[in-house]
Subunit: 464 residues, 2 copies
């Protein structure tokens, strides 16, 4: 019996008619406070995994199961593999979320999804429960309208992405056969602007260290003892100040040596992005007088393709408890985002050595490496990327751009490796106003609809 | 009827026989948690004032009263003025105490006085309830043995010293006639070493500012945005690093211009102090490799006679909450201890201007002055200081030293002024191991006894 070819037009029409059902699926997931951080109830992440499994089954996926591993928040698996001879896509998203943050800063309740001004507000509304529902909505739209998909799909929905995907390697090793696929679609990235379809082709890596400086074994009265005793806060300030030059660039010798120069293709891609200083200042909330550092015409070139050093936190005594003391110690955490072709361990070692070499006054300094994760970059040429570009242009009704991302998604590298280098398409629904991880996280409904329609087109194009 | 001259020998003998009664008086006061800080029950400070008034009356003082002022913790007054023609001493101490601090670090309970290894442990055991009892013990020893004192005394026991003596000016203005005296004895200072009688002749002043740096209106993901945005923590580090030179001296132009050179007498006094580097390191708990800064042979010369800059506290995000963010702001509090002849407002303005001049990258910086209190110094020559020197040498059985103090006691200046410049004797029982304001505060019983015997001698000598 000849099987009718699934129709992309029917699927898109079906989605347009049933958009609200999928939005309800998303709202249902957002209501579950599946915060994976220590100190939050893991039972909610379990509840969230169960809700995701129910959703997958309800939307027509098969072999649905909740995957557990000792000490890990549960992952969820589902598949539809009834298109023999057609490619298999591995679809990824995660169902865990960040802590809500400061309750007073939320204008709505974080776990009560609320639509306002064309956006859905709530923790996880974008990052990354929208990623889950973008997958299920595309799949369901085909199954409901044509009874089948044009390709095979396997879904893996992670439960510990926000805490570093600690067990991902183990899951991938255990599920390696299950997960074999020709293309990966990771729905946890974003669009360059609202409604502007974007494929992310690079991520920065991350090196983290903490520095602790100590000169006395207990805090002393700053009047009774101030003068002969080296101030640990002053010492740490000098060490940290030496890390950045007058232009805000990293002042560690040799740190830029391996940075891969931009290709002419990258220069063209960046030149096509319409970025004004005013827009960038609006997106970031920069103080009016603050300089845009980095020297590039386009600040995104700096974010995507240059290493950047940030002091994420510093503390000695505290603002609340400030007293007339010489602090016994001072502490800070320093991160460097790294780019092709920097080597994580080498950058880590350069940072540690630089800090150690700049300790003044003989104070005790302990520099502890915390993390050294690699950057990721793909070559977005070849048929898969060309099809994806066309699918997303069709789905959003706008020309697709290839962008970088300044952040890190540590699982992309291992995922790609586990699948023997299958092309990875990083897509997603976060626009510059999403405020993922911050308060008042929100999803643009334009991006949500665009992502679903693009996936519908993508399934069809990759089947050809 | 000729009145018998009060006998210093009888008084000393009486004290030696009744030392424990006075120690019990002290322990009774220590049991009352008279913490004057906001957030602690003011009723305990009232209870403490009442206990002090009872003690004064029980030990033979007259006209005892609890002095109250709207919004102030109560002061206590008492006098014995039955030696016509003899000088009048104004004796000062305070009955309020610091908060206990970290309960886990106390080896005994802070408000349960405990004798161990020749020291009395407890909050206020030294600072400054021992000051109160040193006064009452000396007075009582005369009254019990000779029936009278060789001089007139007026006691003022403050209840708000630990929170800055905010109402002292008002009290002094209100009580000006009551408080007229020829000499002040302020028992709130310390000895250079355990059992080494010391008269404090200088105090440093204090200038405080807080600095806040801001470059964005909310914290941003350091991966997504790191590079073009000036890091507020890096900016603050650069500003603070510029305050101290490679030798740990203050690197603000002009800050040392007015510092009064040491006199040859001071040089002699300092040379007499037996200070080794090993002792100083032991007293302060300095890290083995940390350099002793300041350049002086004697670190106390640096503490007493050189300005010193300390960053009392710094914070951006926090050690507990450290995340991958660019902090929206960073904050620090900076203090400079000032010495003769520096001018508080001038030092404050120099500090503010220096910080403002060193703000990098156009970030927003707000520098707020918090305090500008003056130094104090007396000329320890003339008969009163000579008699005091002899009295303390007799009381402790050791040669008295004249010392400075790196801390500030803001009421000394106003007190001296209110009494038309009467000589001020700063004495006290804190030795380098007292750990006043810290956990495990303790009083050396050698210092306690020495202070009482010295006061007995002092009353007698000043009567001559």
């Amino acid at each position: 019996m000849a099987v009718e070819k699934p129709s992309v037009e029917k699927a898109v029409t079906h989605f347009d008619q049933h958009r609200n059902d999928h939005l309800k699926d998303l709202m249902h997931l957002v209501r579950i406070p599946s915060v994976s951080f220590a100190g939050f109830p893991p039972s909610e992440v379990v509840r969230s995994a169960e809700a995701v499994a129910e959703l997958l089954a309800a939307r027509g996926l098969e072999e649905v199961s909740v995957l557990t591993l000792e000490g890990a928040h549960p992952y969820v698996y589902g598949e539809w593999c009834k298109a023999p001879g057609k490619p298999t896509l591995l679809l990824y998203a995660h169902h865990d979320v960040q802590p809500p943050g400061d309750a007073e800063l939320w204008k709505t309740r974080p776990f009560e999804p609320t639509v306002c001004d064309g956006r859905l507000f709530g923790r996880g509304a974008a990052d990354d429960k929208a990623g889950i529902v973008a997958h299920t909505a595309a799949i369901s739209s085909y199954l409901q309208s044509s009874g089948r998909l044009p390709i095979n799909v396997k879904l893996i929905i992670e439960g510990e992405e926000e805490i570093g995907s600690e067990h991902l390697h183990e899951f991938l090793a255990k599920q390696r056969e299950n997960l074999q696929a020709d293309v990966m679609v990771l729905a946890d990235a974003g669009n360059f602007d609202t409604g502007l379809p974007s494929l992310t082709v690079s991520l920065r890596g991350l090196v983290l260290v903490e520095a602790e400086v100590r000169s006395i074994d207990h805090s002393l009265h700053s009047g009774m003892w101030g003068g002969p005793i080296p101030d640990p806060v002053g010492a740490l300030s000098k060490m940290l100040a030496s890390l950045l030059d007058d232009e805000g660039r990293i002042a560690i010798r040799g740190i830029y040596d391996r940075v891969r120069p931009l290709t002419s293709q990258e220069r063209e891609d960046y030149a096509r992005l319409d970025v004004t200083e005013a827009l960038f200042r609006k997106q970031t909330g920069m103080a009016p007088g603050a300089r845009i550092l980095g020297g590039a015409k386009n600040p995104y070139e700096t974010i995507w393709r240059q290493p950047a050093l940030t002091i994420n936190a510093i503390q000695a005594s505290s603002r609340d408890q400030a007293r007339n003391i010489i602090c016994d110690s001072a502490w800070a955490r320093v991160g460097i985002r790294i780019v092709p072709d920097q080597r994580p361990e080498e950058v880590r070692d350069l940072l540690v050595s630089h800090l150690e070499a700049n300790v003044p006054w003989g104070v005790e300094a302990t520099i502890r490496p915390l993390l050294a994760d690699s950057w990721w970059m793909t070559d977005p040429t070849g048929p898969v990327f060309e099809k994806a570009r066309r699918a997303f242009s069709a789905g959003y009704g706008k020309e697709t751009v290839f962008i970088g991302c300044g952040g890190s998604i540590p699982f992309v590298g291992p995922f790609s490796e586990a699948l023997g280098g299958a092309p990875a398409l990083l897509i997603g629904v976060e626009d510059p106003y999403t405020n993922a991880h911050g308060e008042n996280e929100s999803l643009s409904l334009i991006d949500f609809e665009g992502a679903v329609r693009s996936s519908i087109h993508l399934f069809s194009m990759l089947a050809e």
